[in-house]
């Protein structure tokens, strides 16, 4: 059964965002957009999360943090890069301390463009990620079965 899709818990990490994308992510939680309708809860704990949502580009300091956090999320999990900074580094791309987009350190499943990304597109991105989450779960089940045999 696909309960995973009905209850995606979200972990939001601010890599080096200018705070523009962050407030848009938080806007999704406000009564106007109310993502809890879809069962989405904003957790602060990687161990409880299913969706890893990152805003801002990766710099040399938080490289390890992002990697570490990603590894602590139990499978199946998806990564959503929100904002052009998270997608590619955006306007900060050329800075000396920037590593670039999130995909420089961990695999990204969904890219949500925009500067700042609009709440509507963030929700769209997360919903798209849920489809991928489901695929990953099926793949995980298959793998488990093969191990079992």
């Amino acid at each position: 059964m696909a309960y995973l899709k009905k209850s995606p818990w979200l972990l939001h990490y601010d890599a080096s965002s200018c705070n523009g994308c962050d407030i848009e992510v938080l806007a999704c939680l406000t009564p106007l957009y109310d993502v809890e309708r879809f069962g989405i809860i904003n957790t602060g704990n990687p161990k409880h999360a299913d969706v890893f949502l990152i805003t801002g580009g990766i710099n040399e300091i938080n490289r390890e943090v992002v990697k570490n956090t990603y590894e602590q999320i139990p499978d199946p999990k998806v990564v959503v890069a929100v904002g052009i900074c998270a997608c590619s580094g955006g306007v900060f791309r050329e800075c000396y301390n920037m590593a670039g987009g999130v995909d420089q350190v961990i695999p990204v499943d969904v890219y949500v463009p925009g500067c700042a990304a609009r709440p509507e597109s963030i929700i769209d991105g997360v919903v798209k990620a849920l489809g991928i989450l489901e695929e990953k779960r099926t793949a995980m089940k298959e793998k488990e079965k093969q191990h079992g045999n």
Partner: protein, 286 residues
């Protein structure tokens, strides 16, 4: 015979009821905040999802503690609904909580350590009032057996208004509602990450959630004991009490642990103890 049937009914029905109550809770909370809120069955989806996730465990012993937590919660609840001894129910209930604290301690994480310490503090804060509740009901109905308290025709609430108010206060602590959700809370992710349950993931967290459903049903069952003389009234009061708890949850922010302690012992000392003294001197019932 009937006691065995009610105990089995509890084991089967309590998770369903507890999950529904949790769903209504979230819906009402959302409405109070001007949102639509998740579907009624959301808590069931959440738990079902948790069982679909990968099981990541750092210390295997923590899983054992969580199973013990769930088992003791079910046992104490089943004994409660079988009409057993109230004191024994309370002991088993407390033991269950000791196991979840041990589980959090076993996990070796600063967050769950602090969560465990705070859980111990809340345990200390509400325990006197629980004992007073049992003693008060004994003084009025003359029995420690749930079956006799629940079927007693004495209107316990008229003699124990103070004890009832005290019980409502610790219910806020027990249901992990603001302002006393210091050890774990759905909204605690800024401060404590998730407190007690920080290190539990996937199926283990699912078990904690199910145990919590059982616990809530037992707690609401305890309210019933005050109104055993009139079951319809009892159901109405349970609904109102739960609504009140949700309302309090939404209108208060989290308090420091010192306040939990002071409120718990404060109401136990003033409302609970005074009420018992008055009952003892002026009503030698039984």
């Amino acid at each position: 015979m009937t006691s065995i049937i009610t105990a089995i009914a509890f084991v089967i029905l309590a998770p369903i009821l507890g999950g529904l109550v949790a769903g209504i809770d979230r819906k009402v909370t959302a409405r109070m905040q001007g949102r639509v809120g998740p579907p009624l069955l959301q808590p069931f989806y959440d738990v079902a999802k948790l069982f679909e996730k990968e099981d990541v465990t750092v210390t295997p012993s923590q899983n054992l503690y969580i199973i013990a937590y769930l088992v003791f919660m079910v046992v104490s609840g089943a004994y409660f609904f079988a009409g057993g001894d109230f004191l024994l129910v309370i002991f088993a209930f407390t033991l269950a909580h000791v196991f979840i604290v041990l589980g959090a301690y076993a996990a070796y994480s600063p967050y769950s350590y602090i969560g465990a310490e705070r859980e111990l503090i809340t345990l200390m804060a509400y325990e006197p009032m629980v004992i007073f509740t049992a003693v008060g009901l004994y003084l009025v109905t003359g029995s420690f057996y749930i079956s006799e308290i629940a079927t007693s025709t004495v209107p316990a609430i008229l003699y124990l208004p103070g004890v009832f108010l005290g019980f409502l206060t610790i219910l806020t602590i027990k249901l992990r509602k603001s302002p006393f959700d210091i050890s774990t809370s759905h909204h605690a992710h800024q401060e404590l990450v998730k407190g007690l349950t920080t290190e539990f993931a996937g199926p283990v967290l699912g078990k904690v959630e199910i145990a919590h459903w059982y616990e809530n049903v037992v707690l609401l069952g305890m309210i019933y004991l005050f109104f055993g003389f009139n079951p319809v009234l009892a159901i109405v009061v349970i609904a109102l009490a739960y609504f009140l708890e949700i309302f309090i949850d939404n209108t208060f922010s989290r308090m420091k642990w010192q306040w939990t302690m002071k409120s718990g012992w404060g109401v136990a000392a003033t409302l609970g103890f005074l009420n018992l003294v008055i009952v003892y001197y002026f009503y030698v019932g039984v």
